[in-house]
Amino acid sequence: MQPGMAKLPHLFQPGRFGRFEIKNRIKYGACCVSNYNTRDGFITEREIARMRVIARTGCGIITNQGAYPDPLGEGKAYFRQLAIFDDKFLPQFERIAADIKEQGAMPIQQILHAGRYGGIDLGYCIQPSDVPQTLPHFRPPKVMTKEEIRDCIRQHAEAAQRAIRAGFDGTEVTSFMGYLLANFNSRFTNQRTDEYGGSIENRGRFMRELIDGIKQATPDNPLVVRLNGAELMDHWGGNTEDECFELMRQAADVGVDMISVTVGWQEAPESSIGRDIPPGYWNYLSARAKKMFPSTLVTFGNRLPDPRMADDCLRDGVFDYWEVCRPLLADPDLIHKAAEDRLDEVRRCIGSLNCLSRLFRDLPYTCTMNPALGHEVEPEYQVTPAAVKKKVMVIGAGPAGMECAITAAKRGHDVTVFDKADRIGGNLYAYAMNDLARPDDLLSVVSHYETVSRKLGIEVRLNTEVHAKFMRSVLHQYDVCVIAAGATLDRKRYAHIKGAERMLDGLEVAHGRSKTGRRVVILGGGKLGLTLAESLRKHQEAEVTVVESGKRIAGDVMPSFKWRHASWVEELGITCLTSSSLIEIGTDGVRLRNAKGEETFVTADTVVQANAAMPAHSLFHEFEWMIDELHGAGDALIPRGLEQAIQDGYRLGVRL
């Protein structure tokens, strides 16, 4: 037994699912589709390469991403979603199933009919009732006739048979996030007056018939159903939690083999899986399901990224299988590291939802933390031994620099990192210290870099500023210099403004090196300005006004997190003046002008610049003729953010 397995005995305990032996209690969940496939539903080599990595994660059960079951594409939710409505798609499914089995795992194929969120190529979606959309990127509804309901169930059953023929051992249908099954179950979207609507018994009829249809079509293979423990739609007339559990009871009664407990709809006005939700927050839903349905297997994993927490849950009977997806996208070696007692090396999912932000813009998903995700098929993205061992100096111990340093060191290069600060992390550390959501998540990135760099023997020289004089002192000692020194704020931007000398640098404030007063004006409504404003308001009870020259705040914030800032701004009572520019800073406040040319005065004892991020281009010019190879990464090239810094650093590290 590997050392970590003894520490997590419940997680690595074998189990059964139907007639299948499962090597541990971990189910890879089909958390979202990848959008790596063809527009007409065929699996690509890119997808197969990704699934080869997933197959090797060490999970006992692996769920392949959702495929739509109907030839019209009414069930199709995503731009490049898989299809399984015809045998012509099967050869690639066969390869995936075989690969998963080869790794000793049980392959499950998810069938995903998106219902209210489907019909992406059609201009309409199908639903139980005529309930319009609340998010305008979805299609207007068309009500399903009873004949269409029967057809839909038949298509699901045929899709399940097809998956089993392709080599999958079981299938899964999903109501997660408001798909067709959820639309029938929910009072919000099911307002039918026939036997498929009205009472909860009637609303659950479609689900019961669907389960029954699939079970009859594939009697020897287990079926999973993903059901909401909480829709988070009850304010809008959706199901209460009690109703959600009554629907689970119906599913259990008709013989579903496993219930996957999920949370939330895509259009729900509350957060469900973002990083503002603490890990373990939704566990009570799974515990309730397990208590109510002791003879039905329960799997769960929403906002439960830590194997240690999962092991405790298994011990306490919260669920039978830990369902995990995004943490394995962030670090496909998570389970192996847990088994080998190397959890300190795990690259944690930080819940940025970059994956979903891209998906809902019809882009292939990527991962903030794992730059190789989606590029598994490309040799250029793999960490391979370097042809020539080089001495590499990396300037900056932020995410771009550390990612580059670690990747280069893994390839055999001799790497030294320099940073003028006294700690690893760069500006990410400053953001984490002011973050109202989950500072731990952001700090986990820093501690990951600290641990892995130490284990790889990377020398990190802190409190060391690299400038031209320093470079001359190390001339010819290094083969490569990577400038990853991050961004600074362009203080000249406001040099022409009267009183500009009173302005504080937002990054200095974020790092805790400059102190603010009780009435603060922050220039810039991007992520730095908003993060500072929220922190100063919440932790120091400062009266804060954010001044943004653009029409909207949060312009540089991850799309899936914009709402969170907007919500905090309102909750905390932060004033945001958009389309406004600074005219003058006085001793007791600032004078502003809005888009209409109107001038206002805002009282303030502190003015903070939190905009005009500037790359470190001067370093490139200074060092150009002092080293063989000179490269840049992250904000030092173009100020953007964490994801781009990590991607830049990695991409550079694999090719040095």
Binding site: D130, P132, H235, E267, A268, P269, F360, S560, W563, E570
Partner: protein, 149 residues
């Protein structure tokens, strides 16, 4: 003026049928937010209704001569001919009534975010934007609404 006898909250002067604001107040609200309504194409319709009794709706309708506001019978979402339907619960309707000549869009935005107002969109974003609803959607907070949060 209709008053809900079951409510222990004071009625507001702007409340009309079914606790909806009066058309006059609704018209004044549109005038107060001229920058949001001026770009609307003729024919754009935005409806407000009470979720508890969705029989009447109060409609802003853009015409060649500007914005009009009137009560109409609500016969279903599609039949409403609206581009957007705001379906508000009792509590938020009171707040809407109180805010018609002031911070109306702030109240609507907060109501949508908290779930007290359901904002149904009967056309896709690209169509709504073509019809001049870009700024108005922004004011309702759509820039900050996203899937899978």
């Amino acid at each position: 003026m209709a008053v809900d006898a079951t409510s222990d909250r004071p009625s507001t002067p702007n409340c009309g049928v079914d606790r909806l604001p009066s058309p006059e107040a609704w018209l004044a609200a549109a005038a107060h937010h001229g920058e949001l309504f001026a770009p609307l194409d003729p024919g754009v319709r935005i409806a407000l209704l009470a979720r508890s009794s969705p029989t009447q709706m109060l409609v802003w309708e853009a015409g060649n001569a500007g914005i009009d506001a009137q009560f109409e019978a609500f016969a279903g979402y599609t039949a409403s001919g609206a581009d957007i339907v705001l379906a508000a619960d009792r509590e938020s309707l009171l707040e809407v009534c109180s805010a018609v000549t002031g911070r109306l869009f702030e109240v609507l935005r907060a109501g949508i975010r908290s779930g007290h107002i359901v904002c149904y969109v009967l056309k896709r974003r690209c169509v709504l934007e073509e019809r001049g609803l870009d700024e108005l959607l922004d004011a309702l907070g759509f820039a900050f609404m996203g899937a899978c949060r």
